[in-house]
Symmetry: C2
Subunit: 429 residues, 2 copies
């Protein structure tokens, strides 16, 4: 039945009569002539329309009553793309592309109607022929996961893989990654691979690679231009600046967030302009200092995931904090309000957490701006209860850094010191 | 000892010899002549400086060695301001000001060195004499709490108080409130007092009212101009647009967040321009529709605070979700990634929560943009597990709305219906 997925009643009958299946390329004569691929329909759809994906990448609904003629051009099986083997130019710089999955490495599955990760790194590479003019790209698939399924264990695998290339002849490394949690991964790599000698660019896309409207190709091209021409190291996220296809921006991997669910320019540097802006072949550098505050490459690929993120809000039940303490967490990052506050109702359990030797760090749910806990008496109370003010580290980065710091040291005082040490531009002056 | 708070060693000795206490107004002759108030010092300060608050509101440190002469102008007791009784002009519109505390109703306590909530609504009113030219303001103190200590019980008290004025001759109501959780309170009032006939403006300030750099007066004046001239109802947050003192903006109470820890323009409307902009006496309306989608005033002042906010991140321990289920929560708002995703590791416990009849709603930690759970197979999986896609409601608003919806109905299907009904512009078209 998946050949007619989602179609029912009249529309199903129409497809069966015309021997057309979901995924087939067709030519339809109605008010105009349409060329496209028959898309699956979702439940609760009416039975009066067909959905056609046009070459432009957009879907339209066509009323069956108004279709004069439908003709199959090719069936779904034939639309599988063939792999191309690219010729390499030995004069060009070398880039390593590691694929982890996500939209950048996915296509719309015309049978299920959903976007699934299927493109291999080789396919990704060959699907953007422009790449071969600026660099020789070696591609490798590490795994194929949507980024909501990227776990800290995956971070370790990526870091271990990248570490091997610290003395290679690559000019830079691209990590193709789903956008949802890309900034968590970039944070981990920034700390675990502090001082890594060549630049690392995490690249994602907001629309899948096989759609006409995809931003994948431009983001990849921008990233390669950046890696080849930036003349520095560090961990960055490279994406569209906005809906405009001309500008690609490069964010510090430790000061960036996905701030919009769907826009191409979803990623934003918090509290500053992006570190680099790439317009055509020009690379404009806004970053004042170097990304890594540590000069030598000192890989510390360790983690302790027993860190909880507690976003405070009116009505937050202190007993929930109590459960976190009971569950033997080693660190708690508070996403406090404003300058770094949580309600008085929380104090007793914060005290308990402190007495148990749990690392307690304060960030703000405002996201932008610095935590300052000496302005109000409530902030001063929290400092006295053992909470450390984490400056202007954004909450997600503080969480990842705490997992990393606790993975590298069991000594609470040392962990506190690491948390306040600016390692990879996570603290903004 | 609090008379010399924070001073030690040489600086303490210097104060004692000259019989000067913290809080005293003094004249100091050094490289220049300085007039100001002696401020307390914080721990770990050196003992070589005095801190003086200048009339401009800024603090400076003066090296004791370089002070030629220090002279007391008045002691701290004398600096307590006297209350003024304002004359009222019966031709002007009437505004009710309810004070709940926060920076707008606080001053720097020169003895403790911290900002504490102390101004009464009357003082607040009389401290801004311009108010009496545009409206007759009746003031009342409801309580005096920093907003991180405002709990859902306070929301109920504010709503019950406001409800009494639904048929009064006030043109509008101001709620002076701490900024940290102001957007949570504005959300609750928007739902609980849906259809309330006169406009409600929550007003805060980022710098305390007795500081020269305070934004309190301008925010209050802007709010009163807005309430008197807006010709509509609804619940709004009225604050500075940016560092510029000329523009006051008015945000929809259900689509606003504090997005910066310290800037005057910390509040931002998510996904749109502010509803109204007030420049001098001009009120520019950007809001297209009416704030309330319900026309008649239908107060429903109820709450069920057993709602948890779960911000998903890589490494989120599903057992923590398990604890929330065990603790008999009635609702869970997920702050998922991207278009509304959480990792596969969470599925088993999501299923358990759904089977237990817990309301499950999905928002995005991107904050801006719409949750769309039909694009990726993972989103579709979550819909099948019973999670409701909450459109573009921001996470904090979804949390408050769920507390309110669950307070008004024990029927899960009805709660789901309420959550997707646009009541007070919380869902943006």
């Amino acid at each position: 039945m998946s050949e007619f997925r989602g179609y029912a009643g009249k529309s199903l009958e129409f497809l069966k009569i015309n021997k057309i299946h979901v995924g087939d390329s067709v030519k339809i004569l109605a008010d105009l002539t349409y060329l496209g691929i028959i898309m699956p329909r979702y439940e609760h759809s009416d039975d009066k329309h067909l959905v056609l994906k046009l070459k432009s990448g957009y879907n339209i609904g066509l009323e069956i009553e108004k279709i004069e003629k439908i003709e199959k051009i090719s069936s779904s099986e034939k639309s599988i793309e063939k792999k191309e083997i690219l010729e390499k130019n030995p004069a060009l710089p070398k880039i390593l592309l590691l694929s982890t999955g996500g939209t950048i490495a996915s296509k719309v599955d015309y049978r299920t109607g959903a976007v699934t990760p299927v493109l291999t790194a080789e396919e990704l590479n060959s699907s953007v022929p422009e790449l071969s003019k600026i660099a020789n790209v070696d591609a490798e698939v590490l795994f194929s996961e949507y980024s909501e399924n990227i776990m800290p264990e995956h971070w370790l695998k990526i870091a271990e893989k990248v570490k091997k290339y610290s003395t290679s002849n690559y000019s830079g490394i691209i990590i193709a990654h789903g956008t949802d949690t890309m900034h968590y991964t970039s944070s981990f790599l920034s700390f675990a691979l502090a001082g890594f000698p060549i630049p690392i660019a995490l690249v994602g896309s907001q629309r899948s690679s096989d759609r006409a409207s995809s931003d994948a190709a431009l983001n990849l091209i921008g990233a390669i231009k950046f890696l080849v021409g930036c003349k520095t190291n560090g961990v960055y996220i490279v994406m569209h600046q906005d809906e405009n296809d001309e500008t690609i921006v490069c964010h510090l991997g430790t000061r960036v967030r996905k701030n919009h669910t769907s826009k191409r320019g979803a990623f934003q540097t918090i509290g500053d302009n992006p570190a680099f802006i790439i317009v055509n072949d020009q690379i404009q550098r806004n970053m004042k200092d170097e990304f890594f505050k540590i000069k030598e490459f000192q890989p510390k690929i360790n983690l302790n995931t027993k860190v909880a993120l507690v976003k405070y809000h009116p009505g937050y039940d202190p007993n929930l904090l109590g459960k976190i303490i009971e569950m033997n967490y080693n660190g708690i990052i508070f996403e406090g309000t404003g300058l770094g506050h949580i309600g008085k109702t929380m104090y007793a359990n914060v005290k308990k957490a402190n007495e148990k030797g749990i690392f307690l760090g304060m960030t703000s749910q405002c996201i932008d701006g610095r935590v300052r806990m000496t302005v109000y008496e409530s902030g001063r109370d929290l400092l006295n209860l053992g909470i450390i003010s984490l400056e202007n580290m954004i909450p997600e980065v503080a969480l990842v850094k705490a997992m990393w710091a606790l993975g590298n040291s069991k000594n609470l005082e040392e962990v506190k010191k690491i948390m306040l040490q600016n390692i990879a531009s996570e603290i903004y002056d």
